[in-house]
Chain length 375, copies 2
């Protein structure tokens, strides 16, 4: 991976016949038509996007497709997590069918995680599977949700409980598109980036500690950081595409994080996903120290770095208060990483040494939560 | 395959890690608990069924599950094709989530093709994929829709345009359950059975010509005929799971058939799927003879056998009249087996010699339809 030039960096996800490239670089959206036509000759496309992203980036993508001779329609959904619903899924599916797209045609997701998860699910189920291309425009989507094939929607029973695995044919991560992100949203994506270091790449976490300002400022370190994150995720996905084993490591910080998102009613004014993950990762490290699995020094180092970039790390950082420990535990138990009633957590032996802990005693989770909720 | 005893016959579908058994026999539903527990130890289950099937077979299945210690909930949908909708899918998904089933648990479809297609789709998307078991109670479902992993629902744009491939872990075909089927529905399933002979097993078609009465009467030939049909389908599915090639042969009779179903508004009082397929197969053979690909004698032999068992074979057999040739062609073009604007048909060089014909000229289809619509 070069950080010397503006040439795009390509990270390959190795999944046999379903392998694909993640092409990362500033202004890569302007090359979308060429990149897609090279991989899916003769395709037509449906762009799924939301109104906010459309205002900033749709023109660029449409021009790029037209220049490459790719006929296309646009499906615009409402911005926000509420669009990850059966109703919006049905609308999107109907719009794709109304455009008379065929099995060999392509759905392009232009936007953040919500657009990607919804559009990918629609691509997976129209005609039992169309081609899918991700053009993520948020940092979270570029380093996490656009890679690995998870798609889905939310239901009243919880987030992402309905969906399928459907790998994209191509991911186009335009790093310049991140310049327009609100700082809070950029930070939230950064939490997932730090996660890869914490799972099994301690040298990457150390590099982030030294380079985070350049990443936020949009310097050469940004492309490198995104590429290294995608490489980390691609390696895990290639090992365990359908999350029957190792892939669960990517849930570091997510079991606590999802519970906090649920407890705040997915109200992004209070907590966004990456913030939940940041608190969750800090808690996972503290919990591991509490269980004498890891040194408290590592937990403090993790917390210090996350706080330095402006991320929350404590339950008391969640504005508006939280329910009690029992209620938080109930949210954790409804999370989909529950196997046969036992609680599964991603714990750690130190920075870069995360592991899957099955059968974590509920009583210990409960008392840990009680301690952390205490004023 | 034995026809001498009442012991169940097992047909294996070879799909590597996703291989599964089709267990065929009278009263096999009474062994469902044992068969499932052996393959998916510790599972809990949601039975998806419709009110009609529940009245006839739900007690048997529930008792079998309980005897094997499999805790379960029941989700009952309205009988009929209208249940293959987004609304019923959402209700079914919600019911499975409300039962707090986990990823390792099982959705069991007890019913015909509608229940199987809907329940399989729900199983595929809840928690990105639960275990799925088919307990087909119609002949059509036993010899066709329960095998091969196609799941889906209908939309205003057409039938089965939304869905995924999700292979079952087990298929339990209770041949005695067919005793309660209305004769018209049994005949409709028989059309799919005859299809396997017409595709590439001329000796099976000849055997059906000699044994159909025993199959209808429920004799030993019934189990054998269902097993041979499942074997035929399993072979095609194993070669081409996701229908990128050979599997399209299974659409023999279906391109015309789907158009007729659409033209009659999926009104089962006028035409059920298997009847559409019977007419479609007769048309495909006549069309092939008309194109000088096959002998007209074969087309006559196919028509004679289908008429002998009581199936329709001509456009004029559809009660209530049909739209004109142009309109039928439009239904054909919306069918999902259209690739890049060219019409793809399954044609034949004679009984047991079907092949995939791409780029069939629209003008020839149109004039053939006009001839067949003429009084």
């Amino acid at each position: 991976m070069s950080t010397e030039t503006e040439a795009p960096v390509v990270v390959s996800v190795d999944l046999g016949a379903r392998s694909y490239d993640i092409v990362i670089g500033p202004a890569i959206l302007g090359s979308a038509g060429v990149e897609i036509a090279r991989r899916i000759p003769g395709t037509r496309a449906a762009i799924v996007t939301d109104a906010n992203v459309a205002a900033a980036h749709l023109r660029t993508l449409r021009d790029a497709l037209s220049a490459a001779g790719i006929g296309h329609e646009v499906v615009t959904i409402a911005p926000g997590e509420k669009s990850k619903s059966f109703a919006t899924l049905q609308d999107t599916v109907d719009a794709i069918l109304a455009a008379r797209l065929e099995r060999g045609d392509t759905v392009i997701a232009l936007g953040g995680g919500v657009v990607g998860d919804l559009a990918g699910f629609a691509a997976a189920i129209v005609r039992r599977g169309m081609n899918f291309v991700q053009a993520p425009t948020s940092l979270l989507a570029q380093v996490d949700s656009s890679v690995g094939g998870k798609t889905g929607i939310n239901t009243g029973h919880g987030k992402n409980l309905v969906g399928v695995f459907h790998q994209p044919r191509l991911v186009l991560a335009d790093t310049a598109a991140l310049d327009t992100l609100p700082p809070r949203e950029f930070r939230a994506g950064y939490a997932e980036m730090a996660k890869y270091g914490l799972i099994d790449r301690p040298e990457f976490f150390a590099w982030l500690e030294n380079n985070w300002k350049d990443i936020f400022a949009g310097g050469a370190a940004r492309v490198e950081a995104i590429a290294r994150s995608c490489r980390a995720k691609a390696d895990v996905v290639a090992r365990d595409e359908h999350e029957v084993g190792d892939r669960a490591l990517l849930n570091l910080g997510h079991t606590f994080g999802h519970a906090l998102e649920a407890a705040t009613c997915y109200d992004s004014a209070r907590l966004v996903h990456g913030e939940g993950v940041a608190i969750g990762m800090a808690l996972a490290h503290r919990f591991s120290a509490r269980l004498n699995l890891a040194s408290p020094d590592d937990a403090e180092r993790v917390e210090a770095h996350l706080r330095e970039v402006g991320l929350p790390t404590r339950l008391s950082d969640v504005p508006g208060g939280l329910p009690d420990a029992e209620a938080l535990l109930a949210y954790i138990a409804q999370d989909k990483k529950v196997a046969r009633g036992a609680l599964t957590f991603i714990l750690t032996r130190g920075i870069g040494q995360a592991f899957i802990a099955k059968d974590v005693p509920i009583s210990q989770v409960l008392s840990f939560l009680e301690e952390n909720l205490a004023p």
